[in-house]
Symmetry: C2
Amino acid sequence: MKIIEGGITAAKGFLASGIHAGIRKNRSKKDVALIKSVVPAQAAAVYTTNLVKGAPIPVTKENIKNGIAQAIICNSGNANTCNANGIAVAKEMCALTAKTLGLDAEDIVVASTGVIGQPLDITPIADALPILAENLSTDGHPAAEAIMTTDTKAKEVAVEFEIGGKTCRLGGIAKGSGMIHPNMATMLVFMTTDCAISAEMLQKALSGDVQNTFNMTSIDGDTSTNDMAVVLANGLAENAPITAEGEAFDTFMKALNTVTVALCRMIAADGEGATKLLECQVSGAADPATAKTVAKSVICSSLTKAAMFGADANWGRVLCAIGYSGADVDVSKVEVSFRSVAGEIRVCKDGAGVEFSEEIAKKILLEDEIFILINLHSGEACATAWGCDLTYDYVKINGDYRT
Amino acid sequence: MKIIEGGITAAKGFLASGIHAGIRKNRSKKDVALIKSVVPAQAAAVYTTNLVKGAPIPVTKENIKNGIAQAIICNSGNANTCNANGIAVAKEMCALTAKTLGLDAEDIVVASTGVIGQPLDITPIADALPILAENLSTDGHPAAEAIMTTDTKAKEVAVEFEIGGKTCRLGGIAKGSGMIHPNMATMLVFMTTDCAISAEMLQKALSGDVQNTFNMTSIDGDTSTNDMAVVLANGLAENAPITAEGEAFDTFMKALNTVTVALCRMIAADGEGATKLLECQVSGAADPATAKTVAKSVICSSLTKAAMFGADANWGRVLCAIGYSGADVDVSKVEVSFRSVAGEIRVCKDGAGVEFSEEIAKKILLEDEIFILINLHSGEACATAWGCDLTYDYVKINGDYRT
C-alpha cells in the first residue's frame, strides 16, 4: 500500500474535467465537474440523514440502485435544495450528461453543493457539458477544484495496492469546509478505483468505513442536506473480482480507509476559518461506541475548539465535553494529554488536573495539527475523530455567506 | 401578576450581599455572594446532567434532600470542579457559612462557577464571610453581580402575585454567558419566594418549569459541569401553604414561569459575545417533543447563529437544522418567517423558498431581538427556545479565557 500522486483519475480508466460554467459569479472559480469511467462501473454510495435532502440525493439513489454507474456530474455554487423544481432539474442534469457522453441517464450520479433554496438554472450546465466532455482527461485536479465551495484547498489523494498479483489504485476527491457534521453519510466525496469488486461488497466496504471516518469528522455540528460519498469501481485492474469477505476484501478496505482518513484530515484542516486540524484519539474505552461518542463530543465542543484557536491548554473543557457526551464514563479515571510536533504534555490524570508547564503547553498548542489524547482507562476500545478550531473567520465566512 | 423591582431579595424575609473576596484577580469584580432567609425555607433544585460535576453539586444535593435550606453561598472565578479536594472545600464553604450565620451546615446551598480544574483556595472565602454577613441587606444587586463570570449584565427579575388573598413575591438572579446548554438543569439560577409551598410541590414546580425554560436555552451547546437552579420558599407571605395541585399551584407556576422566562431571555441575550437575542417559536407541531426538538436544533445551529450575526436571511440553514434535528417532520409543509420590532417577513413556505425583499429582511434582522418563526403545519403543539448569535467576540472570549 503506497500513497501516489493524483486523485479521482489515479485509477485506470477514469477521466475527469472541471470548468467555470457560470453558476458562481466569480469567473475564477470552477463550478461544474464531470467524472467518467471508460466502462460501466460498480457503484456504492452513502447519503445524508438530514430529512431535508438536496434534490440530487433521491435522483442519484434511484440511478445507482442497480449497483452500476458510469459518470458523475457535480456543480458547486447552488445546492439545488428546497426548490420546487429541484428533482426535475437534477434529472435534467443526468439526462443532459448522459446524452453528451452517449450513456444512459440511469448510469449518472448527480450532486450539488452551495446555497440552499435558490432555483438552479440548468442553462449554464447544459452549455458547459460539451466543453466538459471535450476536456475529459487523466488530470483530476480541475474536477477537484470545481466541487469546492468555501474550501481553500482542493482535496485529492490516491493509493496503490495489490490484489492477487494485480496492481490496483483507488483515489478520491472531497469538498468540505462548512455545514460539516456528517451522519451516516458525508460531505461530497467521490472516489474511483480500478479494482474489480462487486457493487454489494463495494457498498459493504463504504458503509463500514464511513462509520469510522467521515461520520467522525465535524466542522460545525451542522449536518448538510446534500452530503454524499460515492465510489465507482470499474474493474480495469483485472484482479479476480472481490465478491466476498476475505484477504482481498481486507486489502481493499485498508486502501479505502487510507484514502478516506486522508480526506477526513484534509476536510477538517480546511474547515471554514480553521487554523488548526484537531484529531481526538480516545483509547481505553469499555467499547467502541463509548470511544466514538467521547471523541466526537470533544471535537464538537465549541469551547474546546475556541480554546485550541487560542492555544490555551484549557483541559477542563475537554473533561466537560466528555461529561456531557452521553457516554457512560468513569470520570475519575480519565487522563488527558495534548500532543503536536512540538511535544506532548499530560494535563489531567484520574479526572483531576496535574501540574504542567503552561509555557510548554502553549508551545505544543501553537502548532497546526493538535492531537487531543484521552485515555478512559476502562477497557481496550479506541476511536478517532477529526475537527478544527473555532475562529473569527468561521464567524466571518458564515455571517455573510450569501452576500 | 406583575413584574416588580428587585430580584433575589424581592420576597419577604430574604437578605443578600456580595463582595470582592479575592478569588478573581480583578478587584472591581465581586466574586462571592451570600443569600439568606430569616427563617428556614422549603428548598428545591435541579442540577446539571454532565457526568463531570462540580464539587458543590453533590454537596448541595445532600444538604437539601430533606427539603430545607436557609442560605446560599456562591463564588465566581473558580468552578471547584475536577479538583482532588473539591468536595472537602465545598463542605468547608458550607461549614464556614453556617458558623458565621449561626445555622446548620446541612441547611446551606453551595455553588461555584468559573475555571475548571484549579484548586479553590478557601481562605478568601473564609475571610469574606464575616463581611458578607454584616452586609446582608434587602439590596439583592451586589449578590447578582458577584455570581457573574463573563456576563456583561447582572440578571435579576421579580414578580408579585396573589394566593388566597395574600400578596406573594418571587424573584431570582442568574449567571449565564458561556458553557450554556442546560440539560435537565441549568446555569446558576437562584430564586426566592415568600410564598408558602411544600418542598415537594416546589420541586414539582421547578422540575416541570425548567423543561420549557432553562432546558430550552443554549448559548454554545456545552452543558456545564456546575449548572444548578435553586428556589427557596420561606412562607412569610402567610398564604395557606400549597401542598397539592390546584388553582394556587397554577398561580405559583405562572409566577415561577414569568421569572424563569425573563431570566432565560436575559441569559440568551447576554450570551458570550452575543449581539442579538434569538427566540425560536415553533408552532403546528404534531406533539410537544417535536416542537421542542426543532426549536432547540435551530437555536443551536452554528450556521444559523452566524447568519443572524450577519443579518443574513439565510433560511436554508434553518431548514437544514430542522432536517437534522432528529424530529419526524414533513419538510414539505414547513413555513419560516423572521420577525423583529422592524417587521415580519416570510421566507419559506411548503418547504421551499418564496420571493421576498432582501432589503426588508436585512432591516428586520439588524435588530437586537430576532424571532425565528416556524410553523410545521402538522398539528397544534408549540415550543420556544432561546439563544444568541455567534460572533467574533465569542471566539475571542473563549480563545483566551484563562489567560
